[in-house]
Structure formats: C-alpha cells, structure tokens
C-alpha cells in the first residue's frame, strides 16, 4: 500500500510493523517526531509496546539494553548530541551482541548549535560494532529499519539506520508499505534467548570480568560476523532486494562518484547532466558504512574515483575517502562538502563533477 510519510514517520511505521516490544527515547531535533509518533501509536493501542519516557539518551539506550537482554525486540532513536550522550551505551550494547535497532537522524555536532545534517555523528559509531546503514529517502529508511531487525537478530549485532535530518526525516514522500502479513512472515518473533537472556532463576552472569583473551576473541568474532552482513542483507527475503551499495550508471563509467545519504538524489541528477554532455560518469552509493563495501569498491574499474562526504576527521580529512583509498584500485580524490548542513544542490554537483573530471577540484567545497 502506498502512503505519504516523512522519513521519521516511515521509520515509526516500520517499528510498528516490526511489532517492536520496547521503545525508549529522548527528544532531540530532528529525531523527535519518530518518538512522538511511536508514543501516539502506543497510546492509541496501535502498537503493543512499552514506551518509556527516559530522562536522557544514555538511559534510553540503557533501558533498551535491559529490555533486549531480557528478550524483547527493542528500539531507540536519536541524533547528534543525543548519540554522543549515549555513546558509552552504544559500545556496551555492541559488545553484548544484542540485536537492538536504532534510527539515527543525522545532525551536525556543535558548537555552534546546528540542527542541520552532516554525517559526523553517524561516523562516530564506525568502530563500535554497530551495523551502519544510511538511507537515501523515506522508502529506504522504512525498508532498512525492517531489514535492520531481521539482520541484527540473525547475526547478533546492533543495527543503526541513518537518515538525513530534515532532508529525509521531515520530507514527505510516497512510501510503498508492505502488508502486515508480509512483514510478519519476513520478521518472525525474536528468538528470546539469543544471544543470551537475563531472567529470574537462570543464574548466569553477563558482562563481568573475564580474561583479556575473551575480549580479543569477542572483537575478532564481531569483526568476522560483520563480514557476513552483506550476504544477510542480500538474502534477507524482504519484499524488495537490497545490497550494501546502489550502482547508478556505473557499467561503462570512467569516473565514479562515491557518496551516501539524501544528497545522492541531487548528485544523480548532476550525473545525468554530465552524461548528456557525453561524460562517462556514474555513482556507487554506499548504503552501508559497516560492513564496509570493500569488494564492491575494489571491483571498480575506472579512471578515477571521487568521494564526496559531509564529515571530516580533523587531522586526516574525509573519513570515507580514507577508507575508500585503502581498497580502491583506481586513484581516489576526496572532497568534503555539506558539513553543518551547508546546501549542495544539483548545480553545485554539476560543477563539482566537471572540475573533478578536469582534475581541477580542491579538497573543500565551500
């Protein structure tokens, strides 16, 4: 069924259709409307979940952690400062291997205060052990939330669904929503004792002291299992097929742009303009940052690659570009743009890509 939904409402709808049992979240723009919508669904009885109005993001993920450890399907959502405030819990959840799903509505980290999108917040989760997806539009935000529960519960790693603040979160689009019966078939009830369950009269201890080797084995296993996520996504059996990347006009591309998130729509329009001018250019859009689509990038056979990203690792530059360079077999150029929500539209991309092709592009687009 087709519904008109903002990105945030699409996420809330997916959380409802996943029959999520426990939700805890704290308001922060531009994430707030997800939890408002979920609170409304719970109050109206459309969703049979416990909704906890926690006093902070740290507690939001702590409560979700407890619920998930107790066997429930649990969800939270946040942005930027909220993510940083819950950061300790993010690692705790990952190393506990609990299949929590979180929506991360990307927003700049202050100061100065800035509620607009960039991808720095999402990338602070890069090394933690969360599966990191980044959607391009409301449809993907919806689909990836459902796929998130499925894959997280299969592989015992938490799953974060990124969506750009305002550009996706607050923009209404037509979303193709499957039938509840289709979702139920795709996503059965959580196996409650996996990876473990904390319950009365079952005297196990989880998370306490252990040998140093145990920690190392844990991280090694997480790294190994993360590598299986690509196949799980591809074979998820969802109503639409998904992959770690999207390939746009790539087949004969001599020039390849690598990006992620909402602005890829504008960038694709720019690619069409250059194509009309006879430039063989295409896009590899990252739908996932973790696992990193290394194989897909290594396979690119082109003259050169441009990574456009809205983040900066101060002292090293573009985070994604650094990673792309480590696996690509063609020269890679990095450009940082759109940080702090600075607008980059179709015209910008057209001139950016032209300069890239000519070899006249600098590292910062401002």
């Amino acid at each position: 069924m087709k519904k008109v939904l903002t990105g945030n409402y699409a996420v809330a709808e997916a959380v409802k259709m996943a029959r999520t049992e426990f939700i805890a979240a704290y308001p922060i723009t531009p994430q707030t409307t997800i939890v408002e919508r979920l609170a409304e669904m719970v109050e109206k009885g459309e969703l049979n979940a416990d909704f906890v109005r926690v006093e902070s993001e740290h507690s939001a993920l702590a409560a979700v952690y407890g619920a998930s450890a107790g066997g429930l399907r649990a969800f939270t959502a946040t942005s930027s400062h909220g993510l940083l405030y819950m950061y300790e819990m993010c690692w705790w959840v990952a190393n506990s291997r609990l299949p929590v799903v979180m929506a991360l509505v990307t927003r700049t980290i202050g100061p100065p205060w800035n509620i607009h999108t960039d991808h720095t917040d999402l990338l602070t989760l890069r090394d933690s052990g969360w599966i990191l997806a980044m959607s391009e539009n409301a449809q993907e935000a919806f689909d990836l939330t459902l796929i998130g529960f499925k894959v997280a519960e299969q592989i015992d790693l938490p799953f974060a669904v990124g969506l750009d603040g305002f550009q996706v979160s607050h923009t209404a689009e037509v979303v193709d929503v499957p039938e509840q019966s289709e979702v139920d078939e795709f996503l059965p009830e959580r196996r409650r004792n996996k990876p473990f369950v904390i319950e009365p009269r079952n005297p196990i201890t989880v998370g306490g002291l252990t040998t140093n080797e145990c920690t190392m084995i844990l991280r090694r296993e997480m790294n190994r299992d993360m590598e299986k996520v690509g196949d799980l996504v591809k074979n998820a059996g969802y109503v639409r097929d998904y992959d770690l990347v999207e390939r746009y006009r790539l087949d004969d591309a001599e020039y390849v742009v690598i990006m992620m998130g909402a602005w890829c729509g504008d960038a694709k329009d720019a690619i069409d303009v250059l194509r009309d001018e006879g430039v063989q250019i295409g896009m590899l859009r990252l739908r996932f940052v973790r696992p990193f689509p290394a194989e897909e990038i290594a396979k690119l056979d082109c003259k050169k690659i441009l990574v456009v990203e809205r983040d900066c690792s101060v002292g090293k530059g573009g985070i994604i570009a650094t990673e792309v360079k480590s696996v690509a077999n063609s020269p890679v150029q990095s450009v940082m743009a759109g940080l702090g929500g600075v607008d980059v539209g179709v015209d910008d991309f057209v001139s950016m890509f032209r300069r890239f092709v000519k070899g006249e592009l600098g590292e910062w687009w401002l």
């Binding site: 049992e21 426990f22 805890a24 416990d50 906890v52 109005r53 926690v54 006093e55 902070s56 740290h58 507690s59 939001a60 702590a62 409560a63 979700v64 952690y65 407890g66 619920a67 998930s68 450890a69 107790g70 066997g71 429930l72 649990a74 300790e88 819990m89 705790w92 409650r192 904390i198 319950e199 009365p200 009269r201 079952n202 005297p203 196990i204 201890t205 989880v206 998370g207 306490g208 002291l209 252990t210 040998t211 145990c214």
Partner: protein, 297 residues
C-alpha cells in the same frame, strides 16, 4: 515492620564462599542478606564498583543470582528495561540494582528518572562513603572531613542525604539500613518486595580498607554509627517511621560517644575537638529533620 528470625532464614547461599571481596567487606554482608531475603526472585543489575570484582571472573561467578553487569551510570535504566521484559514475558522476578554511592553520583539522573516513573525495581545503594574500587576517592556521600585520596586533608562538603532525596522523589518505598543490623535490612527488603513500583534502600556499609579500621570490626563500626546517632535507621512505606534500633537515640543522652565512632577510623584521625563538636551539631540537626518527618508523614 517485618520481623525476621535468624533461625527461619533460608540456608541457600546466593553469594558463594571464596569470592574476591576483602575480609570484612560490607557489600558481602549485604549481598548475602539479599539472598536470604529475596532468594531467587532477584535479578541483579550491577554497575562498576567493588561489586564488579566481588562478582567473580570468567566462569568463576560468585553469584547464584542472575547478574547483568552494566556501565557505571546506567543501572536503574537497565533495570527498567529488564522489568519490562519480565512483565511482558510473564516471568516472576524483581530487578534489583545493587550499586555503590559512586553509582548514585554519576547515575543520579538515571536514579531520579526511574524513581519518577515509578519503574518496577528495588535499588540498593551500598554506601561505603567513597569510590572504593578506584582507590578511596571522595563521593557525594563521603562524610564531612573524612580523608580520601582526593581529599587528602579531609572532605570539605557535607554528605549528601540520598535516602531523604529519594523520599522527596516520592519513591514508593524508601528505607535506610545498615550492615550492622542485617535482620532489619532483610525485613526491609521483604517489605519492599511486597510493594509495587520503585523501592529504594540506602545501606550503610563501613569498609575496612577504605575507612581504616580492622577487618574484624565491620559490624561493630556499622552499629556504632547507629548508636552514636550518625546513621539513622528509618523506613517509609506511606508512613515514615524511625526503626526500632535507632529509636532510643532520638534521646541524645542515650547515644554512644561520637568520638568512639570517629576515633576508630583512620580517615578521621586528624579531627580536632572543634570538628567533632561540629559533627555533633550536624547529627543533632539531622535528628530534628528525621523526627519532624515522622510527624509530617
């Protein structure tokens, strides 16, 4: 008040012998009592602190309780989630947060939030009046003038009164307790277990290495704190009552000499006579507050 007879207490051990607590550890006394009081209804949530160590390492767990270890500032929120899981999945049990005074500093917002929401749990703060696990640093509940490694000349600020704070938070049940009076503690735990919602017990836990007294004297030290009036046992279950062990000491003339309590502890060795007089004044003030509360509630 629930009367607890020692001969009726269950023999089953929930804190196992051979655990890694120090000799004379107050947490160990408290955890043993928790097992006797509530047995296998307990699901422990333990944030960072000495109890992290006491719980054991790798496959050598010291607990017969199920136990989830959690970050320092997170425990009541985790218990909220666990409680929800037990209720939804029809499992009978109580999430019990067992944390130190440090946990109630760094996790204060979390404690407040869970209490305000009246989430279903029992929170026990085992208060040894410092961050012991990291090497005796000052906490919010460290006694005025006590020496710690971060207050080498003695703490300058007042001890925070956590139990009264939780009372004002409208917790469903609040009590103070002491490892010197374990039957009283067990009785309060059982009372708490019969009440729904957010239940809070502030347990006074003298720590031999942290305070500087002999490890054979934990119980004696805890009792002295009550007898000199410095630690007042009370309970609120809708009605505020001073507990029988503390009741006599409302009358100042019945109290043990304060110096007896203070001088036994290395952390107070440096106190002057004026300091002791000031502590006495503050104890009197605390009694006025508690007695007034008995009238009001």
């Amino acid at each position: 008040m629930v009367v607890v007879k020692i001969k009726d207490l269950p023999k089953e051990k929930f804190l196992l012998p051979g655990n890694t607590s120090c000799q004379g550890c107050p947490h160990a006394l408290g955890l043993k009592s928790l097992g006797m009081a509530l047995g296998d209804d307990v699901v422990l949530v333990v944030p960072a602190g000495c109890t992290t160590i006491i719980a054991g390492s790798k496959d050598k767990s010291s607990f017969k309780f199920p136990c989830l270890h959690v970050p320092f500032a997170s425990a009541p929120a985790v218990a909220t989630g666990l409680g929800s899981a037990f209720r939804r999945l029809g499992k009978k049990g109580i999430p019990v947060v067992w944390m130190g005074d440090g946990g109630s500093d760094i996790g204060f917002a979390t404690l407040s939030g869970a209490c305000v929401r009246k989430d279903d749990m029992i929170v026990i703060v085992s208060d040894n009046e410092a961050y012991m696990n990291t090497g005796i640093q000052t906490s919010g509940t460290t006694f005025w003038k006590a020496r710690t490694t971060t207050s080498p000349t003695g703490k300058r600020e007042e001890k925070k009164d956590l139990a009264l704070i939780m009372l004002m938070h409208k917790a469903d049940y609040v009590a103070t307790a002491s490892v010197g009076y374990l039957q009283d503690f067990i009785g309060k735990l059982r009372k708490a277990s019969e009440i729904d919602g957010f239940r809070f017990i502030h347990l006074h836990s003298p720590c031999p290495p942290g305070w500087g007294f002999d490890s054979s004297e934990t119980v004696e030290m805890a009792r002295l704190a009550v007898k000199c009036g410095a630690w007042i046992l009370w309970e609120f279950d809708g009605k505020f009552r001073i507990s029988p062990m503390s009741k006599p000491y409302a009358d100042k003339s019945k109290r043990a000499p304060l110096t007896e309590y203070l001088k036994k502890q290395r952390r107070f060795r440096h106190l002057s006579d004026e300091d002791i007089a000031e502590i006495e004044r503050r104890i009197d003030e605390q009694w006025r507050v508690v007695l007034a509360l008995e009238d009001v509630f």
